[in-house]
């Protein structure tokens, strides 16, 4: 039976994390230093030491998960601790500073830590949510199979379209050329929306027989399987009188529709996989930045003691 890293050893690390939180809050509540709570009291130093050690241990996870021959426990155990103790760090570090913030390198470390924890929390969310969606989306079909299926459908479409005439051929050709997936970055995604709308307008004009020539094709426009193509084929169908051409048209419409469905699934797969990974590209650089800020924080506190 598969055991989620969240439930590792009957939530051992969750209990450990909660214990740490309760202990910290209890000590903080009982502690009444003469000058108010801050990082310089005995509890402040204690919580600070615990917090800094935790950060180093949490960072070590990045090394441990690559050490395939390590005997230091299972990686899923490490991940479980990484998640729960990392969340507990939020409380430990906040109580360490005694809610004293300012425009300085110390608060910079705190803010970076918060960002790392929040991005990590989003990571947990994606790990809980997207693998299921990915599996459901694939429906037992491998992405490779879907892609070669799309290729097959493209070929069949072209054959049918060739029989239907040059205009239909051009239309299908264009649809194939413009089948593209995903977004390379948020910038492309945002740019793609406006570009895509503009292009759709042109396409509609072209279908309407407008003489205006088509401009250069935009790069990587997310187009889910070519709605325009479906419209075009449906439109053609309406005009077909003789049985043979109508049958061809029906066949083309079927092919285009199944391709569209497949493209949507591939596209979703890409988006899910991208979301599953993207939080890491925030979590990791911020973690390393936190390590640098933490080092500066610790050294400077004692530099001007």
């Amino acid at each position: 039976m598969h055991e989620s890293f969240l439930a590792y050893r009957k939530f051992f690390y969750l209990k450990l994390g909660l214990g740490l939180i309760v202990l910290s809050i209890g000590a903080y509540a009982l502690h009444d230093p003469p000058h108010g709570p801050n990082g310089g009291t005995w509890l402040g130093y204690t919580l600070g030491t615990i917090g800094a050690s935790l950060i180093l241990w949490l960072l070590w996870y990045g090394i441990r998960k690559r050490q395939y021959h390590s005997k230091l426990g299972q990686v899923s155990g490490w991940l479980s601790g990484h998640v729960y103790l990392g969340s507990a760090l939020l409380v430990v570090a906040t109580l360490h500073c005694g809610f004293k913030f300012g425009w300085n390198v110390h608060t910079l470390s705190y803010v970076l830590m918060i960002m790392v924890i929040v991005s990590g929390a989003y990571g947990i969310f994606t790990y809980v949510r997207y693998p299921t969606l990915l599996t459901d989306n694939k429906g037992g079909m491998a992405i490779d199979a879907m892609l070669s299926e799309i290729g097959d459908l493209d070929r069949q479409c072209l054959q049918v379209a060739t029989e239907m005439g040059d205009k239909a051929h051009q239309m299908i050709l264009r649809s194939i050329e413009r089948t593209s997936f995903g977004t390379t970055s948020w910038r492309d995604a945002l740019g793609g929306v406006s570009k895509g709308l503009e292009d759709l307008g042109r396409e509609i004009k072209s279908i309407a027989g407008d003489a205006e020539p088509l401009g250069p094709l935009p790069a990587a426009v997310p187009q889910l399987g070519g709605e325009a193509t479906v419209f075009f084929v449906a439109d053609q169908l309406a005009g077909f009188r003789d049985g043979a051409r109508a049958a061809l048209g029906h066949r083309l419409l079927d092919l285009v529709t199944s391709k569209k469905a497949l493209v949507i699934r591939v596209q979703r797969d890409i988006v899910y996989r991208k979301l599953l990974k993207s939080w890491l590209s925030l979590h990791l650089p911020l973690s390393i930045a936190l390590l640098a800020a933490l080092a500066v924080h610790v050294v400077t506190v004692f530099f001007y003691w």
Binding site: H35, G102, V105, S148, D154, G215, L284
Partner: protein, 621 residues
């Protein structure tokens, strides 16, 4: 244009051969139709797909269909052709080669046996970021390096270099404090220290060494020590660095310890701390554990002024011996008192009691300022403007004698029924010695009579206690007035900060028979209590009444630290520290003359212990 079309033919086992074909014409057509100049047999190529034409100095490829062509993997409608360019149409790849053999354009045509599915797969790979990285995009590793190195450089390396190089230090602190050592500051300084807040090294003299006491005593050297450090051995307050208790960078509350613990350590058991101390033990906070206030009286015993402290809850003995008669009741009569011109004047507290400059204490009452207008010191009914001086007993009789002597000489003496000794004198004749002595005697007699009236009945005795048996030259003396300057000299009460409170809220008195228990906090209803037992100042008939209430009144508004419904008050809200009249913070001893001298012996504890080797001046000097 003259064009060479070179078809690449792949044979088995990877052998490649070329088939060259020349072409001459205005333009080169490309398509799936057999009438095209360049025939590409692929379903994904349109019948007429594109045309190559000669432009000015270069060739242009133009798509004839909406799906366009791929120029160097970019989908376009038209493109200029340069050597090395690749044009993709369907599964064919056309590469522009360097011109050769008199041809303007050499095109190499190869069929890429690409499955349409594979091509899609390629696009999927690039879309999901699993393909090769594009251009200059930074990966996770790159961003990690950039972020961490930026933080290290800006907030550590640059300030650290500046720490070794003063010119740079000054520049950074002044112009870009964010990357100077100011970025290390955990918080702002207290008001008094802000004027040097730019210079961290004023206090932080050496790296990795906590702030020395010497940094503090550089300015605070004359500050009285916490207490008599010879008598009380409290290492925590003598041997430790100032910064152990006085924390900076945390705002005003952090700079001085506000907690009661510091005081209670010694004041919880005063017998233990100092067996001969008259201070009372205090168990805890102000709201519950502070003992009842004690009023301080100045008494005169054996020729010396002494102070005596009496608990406010002992009204039977709480009596001030001021040697002055002043009934507040008479003066605060609602209908007024008789003024100098005979009209009624209504007096209030502020008629006499005004704050000192600064507003903390009330200014002392002065006869000339507050009493004289009504209480004039005239002694002759027919000469009411003439008064004796106040406050100078010795001069009063002299003044009277001189006055009456002059009047006798001027024969303007009032009618006393006695024969006029000098009136018989003939003009131009000097008075005879018997006449003169009789005149003087008469003047002295008149002066003594007026003095007796003044001292014993009219003026002096009205307010002052007159000592009739005094050994002064004329038999009277005024017993010195001893009014407490403040009832609670060991507390720092500020009238100015209580300006919104009515005088009568704190100033009242308890007659000798008033039971003290009603004044305990939580029991007393201020309204009821006043009606029951406590009396208003305006009801005080005797000057011995102590017109101030005790701790219960303060507790109406002041509570312990942490109290939600009271002003949070700790020991140092009212009481001072650093009060030693003898020792200064740097260990010097105050001499009789008031100067500070070096300690008599090396054993005198001093907070001024620095680890700085001699001769090494701290930074920032």
């Amino acid at each position: 244009m003259r064009c060479l079309l070179r078809a690449v033919v792949r044979k088995s086992r990877g052998v490649v051969s070329h088939q060259d074909r020349g072409f001459e014409g205005d333009h080169l057509t490309i398509g799936r139709s057999t009438d095209q100049d360049l025939y590409l047999p692929d379903l994904r190529v349109a019948l007429h797909h594109a045309t190559v034409v000669a432009g000015p100095g270069r060739f242009v490829i133009q798509s004839a269909v909406p799906s366009g062509i791929r120029h160097n993997d970019e989908p376009v409608q038209s493109a200029f052709l340069a050597v090395g360019d690749q044009v993709g149409i369907g599964d064919h790849r056309i590469t522009v080669r360097p011109p050769e053999g008199g041809h303007d354009l050499v095109l190499e045509i190869a069929q890429v046996r690409a499955d349409p599915g594979q091509e899609v797969e390629k696009r999927v790979a690039s879309a999901s970021g699993t393909g090769p990285e594009k251009g200059l995009r930074l990966g996770v590793r790159g961003w990690s390096w950039i972020l961490s190195m930026t933080i290290l450089t800006l907030f550590f390396v640059v300030p650290l270099v500046a720490h070794q190089w003063e010119a740079m230090q000054g520049f950074l602190r002044g112009v870009i404090p964010g990357v100077s050592d100011h970025a290390w500051s955990t918080g702002g300084l207290t008001e008094g220290h802000r004027y040097f807040s730019d210079d961290c090294n004023k206090c932080h003299e050496r790296a990795f060494v906590s702030v020395r006491a010497s940094a503090c005593t550089e300015c605070h050297k004359d500050q009285p020590h916490h207490f008599d450090v010879e008598r009380f051995k409290v290492p925590a307050l003598v041997d430790k660095q100032c910064a152990a208790c006085h924390k900076e960078h945390g705002g005003a509350p952090a700079l001085t310890r506000q907690d009661e613990g510091l005081c209670l350590d010694c004041h919880r058991d005063m017998k233990e701390t100092a067996a001969d101390s008259k201070l009372l033990d205090i168990e805890g906070g102000f709201a519950e554990d502070h003992p009842e206030f004690r009023a301080t009286f100045v008494t005169h015993v054996g020729g010396k002024d002494q102070s005596e402290r009496i608990e406010m809850d002992r009204p039977e003995v709480l009596k001030e011996r001021s040697n002055l008669f002043f009934p507040h009741k008479t003066h605060l009569d609602k209908t007024g008192v008789q003024g100098p011109d005979g009209k009624a004047v209504v007096l209030g507290c502020a008629s006499c009691h005004v704050p000192e400059p600064g507003g903390r204490l009330m200014a002392p009452i002065r006869f000339e300022q507050h009493c004289h207008r009504c209480h004039q010191l005239a002694f002759e009914i027919d000469d009411p403007e003439r008064e004796v001086p106040h406050g100078h007993v010795g001069r009063v009789l002299d003044d009277l004698k001189a006055y009456y002597g002059l009047r006798t000489l001027e024969r303007s003496d009032i009618d006393t029924g006695e024969p006029d000794v000098l009136s018989r004198r003939r003009p131009g004749r000097q008075a005879t010695p018997p006449e003169r002595s009789e005149g003087l005697e008469r003047a002295a007699r008149r002066a003594r009579q007026a003095g007796k009236e003044l001292f014993e009945y009219r003026a002096c005795a009205k307010c002052h206690q007159v000592d009739e048996k005094a050994q002064s030259v004329f038999g009277w003396d005024i017993v010195p007035v001893r009014i407490a300057r403040t009832w609670y000299p060991l507390a720092r009460f500020d009238h100015g900060r209580h300006a919104t409170v009515a005088c009568a809220d704190c100033h009242a008195f308890r007659p000798a028979d008033c039971a003290p228990s009603t004044l305990q906090r939580g029991v007393a209803d201020p309204e009821k209590g006043a009606a029951d037992c406590i009396k208003r100042v305006a009801d005080s008939e005797k000057s011995e009444d102590v017109l101030i209430t005790g701790i219960a009144t303060c507790r109406e508004c002041h509570g312990d630290p942490g109290a939600r419904d009271r002003v949070q008050s700790t020991c140092i809200s009212c009481h001072g520290f650093h009060l030693s009249p003898k020792f200064a913070m740097d260990g010097r001893v105050r001499t009789q003359a008031g100067d500070l001298a070096p300690p008599r012996q090396a054993a005198v504890p001093s907070a001024d212990r620095t680890d700085l080797p001699t001769g090494q001046a701290p930074r920032g000097q």
